[in-house]
């Protein structure tokens, strides 16, 4: 079994994995970091999004061994102690989540968007979310939250 090492939320981690182990399985099952979710098996829903070297990736579509040496940020790594990341807080203030299952992927994806486009328009947010499904909110408040989060992040 190959050994894989990476930095997750600033902490060096490693583990023995089957070659076919997905990054999301490594996070959830080997590291017991269950904040990242799996909602589908065709890389459509985006619940499993994490930042890999600063870009959002669907961790169900990346093998753990492909993340060797990478810097991974998951939903668990965003808040500063009890203080929410501005994007997390914007989701809370704007009721951008209901059941919470798609939320980790939405927040990670939103942070990636803002890093590339600090002041996204509503249309740009909606198009960016092509790869993230939510069944609860109708996206209305997610879009509002992301625009508010972008502003709070200094965009």
């Amino acid at each position: 079994m190959p050994t894989v090492s990476m930095k997750v939320n600033g902490v060096d981690v490693s583990g023995d994995v089957e070659a076919r182990t997905l990054l999301v399985q490594f996070l959830r099952e080997t590291l017991d970091m269950t904040g990242t979710h799996v909602g589908c098996d065709t890389s459509q829903c985006g619940a499993c999004c994490v930042l890999m070297n600063g870009d959002s990736v669907k961790s169900c579509s990346v093998l753990a061994v492909q993340a060797e040496g990478a810097e991974i940020t998951t939903i668990e790594g965003l808040a500063n102690g009890d203080e929410l990341h501005p994007m997390q807080d914007a989701f809370r203030q704007n009721h951008g989540l209901q059941c919470g299952f798609c939320t980790p992927g939405m927040v990670i994806s939103a942070i990636d968007l803002v890093s590339k486009n600090p002041k996204p328009t509503e249309k740009e947010v909606r198009e960016w979310l092509e790869g993230n499904l939510c069944r609860c909110t109708g996206y209305h408040n997610i879009v509002k939250a992301i625009q508010a989060g972008a502003q709070a992040m200094g965009g």
């Binding site: 089957e18 076919r20 959830r28 017991d32 970091m33 269950t34 904040g35 990242t36 979710h37 799996v38 909602g39 589908c40 098996d41 065709t42 459509q44 829903c45 619940a47 998951t74 939903i75 668990e76 965003l78 808040a79 929410l84 997390q88 989701f91 809370r92 203030q93 009721h95 989540l97 209901q98 059941c99 919470g100 299952f101 798609c102 939320t103 980790p104 927040v107 509503e122 947010v125 909606r126 198009e127 979310l129 092509e130 993230n132 499904l133 939510c134 069944r135 609860c136 909110t137 109708g138 996206y139 209305h140 408040n141 997610i142 879009v143």
Partner: protein, 790 residues
């Protein structure tokens, strides 16, 4: 109003854990020594199992056990029960075919459960499944409902003639015939309410656990109603008494109806955990969800409306075929009957209504409630028919509705189809929606769109629905095999903080926040001092769960009733301490005061005294402050409203864009407007999805064509508009809060508004009908054939 009390847009308690990855969904739970299950499912829609050879799988690497239906049957495991019994016109009970958790001799749909493989890892279980050899004898499958009821059709179940589960009716035929006899105009419509898949983003998960030392079973499951699962599975399937069976439904990632039902996997995992004496986890893959989660809708309807010369409705006649799928799911039989037939008066004074429903078995996944459940089917056929009548008679679709509304002063209003609406003001919601949607400016917007080569249309929907799915007496008379009330416990701790144990289950609705608002408001204590516990039969006394928009109207009322008992008891304690009579105590803003004096006690001091009862007269005053209540309402609640949709159609491509959507709903008193708005927006998104995007498609052999997110069109952010939500309120007349329910209004009101708007946009071409979902292809073809017809 305080900033955390009733009516305040309080930010949600549950959000911090969800936003930081600290939620606990079922798949996040792992038990010591846990094994993993894989369910081998049927690849055929209909086949006899001649033999199953599991010997190679049982010897495969990491495999702990393999079980088939024969093993469960040998152990006396029962079939999955149906919670509702409908009787046919002739008085005979519905056909109720056996529904084994693992099949024994025959598979009845693609995805039917054939065997379970339990292994040390998920992948080992899945790999071993490939070593099971099932010898199938394929049988002819029946997929289409219309074909299923014809003579000579293959039978889904050998003992169910013509695949008919029941042939039900409601209303009186004679007055309806009289109405049609004197009609000046009859509008007719044939419509299909498309089959949908709920697709909560969290797939279903179950963990079975067994403790040999105590003989206790625990099931962790993605359920909307853990106590109902405990009852159904314990009493009917596995014969485990309640005190030896705990069901936990922790954070659940959306349900929309699909997580109400008692599913086979729950029984398989719980039973198998007892066999292997180790915990077992099963997590559905999404493609597995598509072929094992109950589907929704799937009605084929013919309806006729009789009108007088002024457009007044005289009579309505409806005939529906409703797909049950291969087996009866928990609530399935009541959806097309008591949640559909009874709603056909809508918001109108139609004096005579007759509805017939044939429920049909097919070799497809079972069909049950999906957000709205029966009521979207009713509102869709009615609102499409009303628009068609208006168009055919040259009447304005707004005017024809106004003319037929039940007037605000006519409540309580008895409909001809069993329901008595308690309150409402349909003109008020209609007027508000027309104003917000700027209907007056539509003509100018249509003209401008026309100049840009686009077809603009506006559609109305005015709907009413029945919520709460209670009272027990009514539900029982209608065929429910369970009581439908709710239960709550309010436990006041010695320092005055409160834990509420709620029978309702939150899977996105924000109960932890809304219920805490009720407590904070009633007891005058800080919102932060209240926590809500739900979803665990080991903690919560009882519950009927969350569906039918019942959590606040039934569950919230149970909390209010328990709070009333807490205040009564606290008043007694305060009267004792303040040396006065109970009648002289006034309770306001968290203070118990002797009327007309400055002698008072804070709620927290009363709570402390309750637990430190040094001088209580114990013969008349018990220590402690912890009260529970069961609430069974007097009637359903009746949310209603008006949705207005404005679309633009590109005639070159057939693409429909929803430009604006306005929902004005009367959901009764609003406890948290932020949460209500979110609920309506989510429901509307699912309704727009049904109208424009979503459709579950089977091919003739019973293979699911739309079996993944790549094939089934889920609404994405770019498909949807901003959704404007407003409320016009009349209070529910029979509960203390005046609340009605808001979870389903969006999905019930929106589909006809969208389709009426599309038909309106295409009406210049002479198009009068478009089927859901109105995909670009369908719209483009409708335009082409209308143009060809000239």
């Amino acid at each position: 109003m305080t900033d955390t009390g009733i009516g305040a847009a309080v930010r949600r308690k549950e959000d911090h854990r969800f936003l930081t990855g600290r939620g606990t969904y079922t798949d996040d739970i792992n038990r010591p020594g846990q094994t993993y299950a894989h369910i081998l499912r049927s690849p055929h829609a209909h086949a006899r199992i001649k033999s199953i050879d599991v010997s190679a799988a049982a010897k495969a690497s990491g495999v702990v056990a393999v079980f088939t239906g024969a093993d469960m049957a040998a152990d006396g495991v029962g079939g999955l029960p149906c919670g509702w019994q409908i009787h046919s016109k002739d008085g005979s009970p519905m056909a109720e075919p056996a529904h084994p958790p693992l099949v024994t001799d025959k598979v009845c749909h693609v995805g039917d459960q054939v065997a379970v493989i339990i292994a040390e890892s998920r992948t080992q279980a899945k790999d071993a499944a490939e070593k099971i050899n099932v010898d199938y004898e394929e049988l002819p499958a029946v997929i289409d409902m219309t074909a299923a009821i014809k003579d000579g059709s293959p039978l889904t179940h050998d003992d169910v003639a013509a695949n008919i589960c029941y042939d039900w009716h409601l209303g009186e035929k004679e007055p309806v015939d009289e109405g049609f006899a004197k009609a000046k105009h009859v509008a007719k419509i044939d419509i299909v309410n498309n089959r949908l898949i709920a697709n909560a983003i969290e797939p279903r998960v179950a963990i079975g656990d067994y403790d040999p030392s105590s003989g206790e079973y625990t099931l962790y499951t993605t359920s909307q109603n853990p106590h109902v699962i405990r009852l159904l599975m314990g009493a009917f399937v596995l014969q485990i008494p309640e005190h030896k069976l705990r069901v936990v439904a922790p954070d659940v990632g959306g349900g929309f109806g699909s997580k109400i039902y008692h599913y086979a996997e729950e029984a398989i995992l719980t039973w198998a955990a007892g066999k292997v004496k180790r915990p077992i986890k099963w997590t559905a893959e999404r493609s597995e969800s598509f072929i094992s989660d109950c589907h929704g809708r799937d009605h084929v309807t013919h309806a006729e409306l009789a009108l007088d010369g002024d457009g007044k409705f005289l009579a309505l006649r409806v005939s529906t075929l409703a797909n049950m799928g291969a087996y009866l799911s928990t609530f399935a039989p009541c959806i097309p009957t008591y949640l559909h037939g009874t709603l056909l008066a809508g918001v109108y004074t139609t004096p005579a209504i007759y509805v017939e429903v044939k429920a049909v078995f097919t070799n497809t996944v079972p069909v049950d409630a999906y957000r709205g459940a029966g009521r979207p089917e009713a509102s869709y056929l009615l609102e499409r028919l009303v628009d068609r009548a208006a168009r055919e008679m040259g009447l304005d679709p707004a005017d024809i509705r106004r003319k037929n509304f039940i007037p605000a002063d006519a409540f309580p209003y008895q409909t001809p189809v069993a329901l008595q609406y308690d309150s409402g003001d349909y003109t008020a919601t209609f007027d508000a929606a027309i104003k917000i949607a700027d209907v007056d400016g539509f003509a100018a917007r249509k003209a401008a769109a026309g100049k840009a080569g686009k077809l603009r249309g506006l559609g109305y929907s005015t709907y009413v629905e029945a919520c709460g799915i209670a009272p027990s007496a009514v539900a029982g008379a209608l065929g429910a095999r369970a009581g439908l009330y709710e239960s709550a416990e309010v436990r006041v701790h010695p320092t005055g903080s409160v834990t509420v144990f709620a029978g309702s289950h939150s899977h996105g609705q924000g109960h932890e926040t809304t219920f805490a608002q009720l407590v904070s408001d009633s007891l005058g204590i800080p919102f932060e001092n209240v926590d809500v516990v739900h979803g665990d039969t080991g903690k919560v006394q009882f519950g009927m769960g969350t569906y039918g928009s019942r959590s606040l109207a039934v569950g919230g009322e149970a909390i209010m009733k328990a709070l009333g008992k807490v205040i009564d008891k606290a008043t007694k304690i305060a009267a004792h301490v303040l040396e006065t009579s109970e009648a002289d105590i006034e309770f306001k803003d968290g203070q118990f005061t002797v009327a007309g004096t400055d002698k008072s006690m804070a709620f927290g001091d009363v709570a402390l005294t309750a637990y430190v009862p040094h001088n209580f007269p114990h013969e008349t005053l018990e220590p402690g402050l912890d009260e529970s209540a069961f609430y069974d309402p007097a009637n359903f609640t009746f949310p209603a409203g008006c949705h207005i949709c404005e679309v633009e159609v590109d005639p070159e491509t057939g693409v429909v864009e929803v430009i604006d959507f306005t929902a004005v709903d009367d959901v009764g008193r609003v406890i948290n407007p932020m949460i209500v708005e979110g609920q309506v927006q989510g429901g509307v998104a699912q309704g727009i999805g049904q109208a424009l995007l979503e459709e579950c498609v089977y091919d003739e052999s019973g293979q699911l064509v739309t079996g993944s997110y790549m094939d089934y069109t889920m609404p994405r952010a770019s498909n949807l508009p901003n959704i404007t939500v407003a409320n016009e309120t009349t209070l529910c007349a029979h509960n203390s809060l005046g609340v009605k329910g808001c979870g389903e209004v969006g999905a019930i009101g929106s589909p006809p508004a969208v389709i009426n708007a599309v038909v309106d946009a295409l009406s210049d071409f002479g198009v009068t009908d478009i089927a859901m979902p109105a995909t670009p292809e369908k719209v483009w073809r409708a335009i082409q054939s209308a143009q060809a017809a000239g």
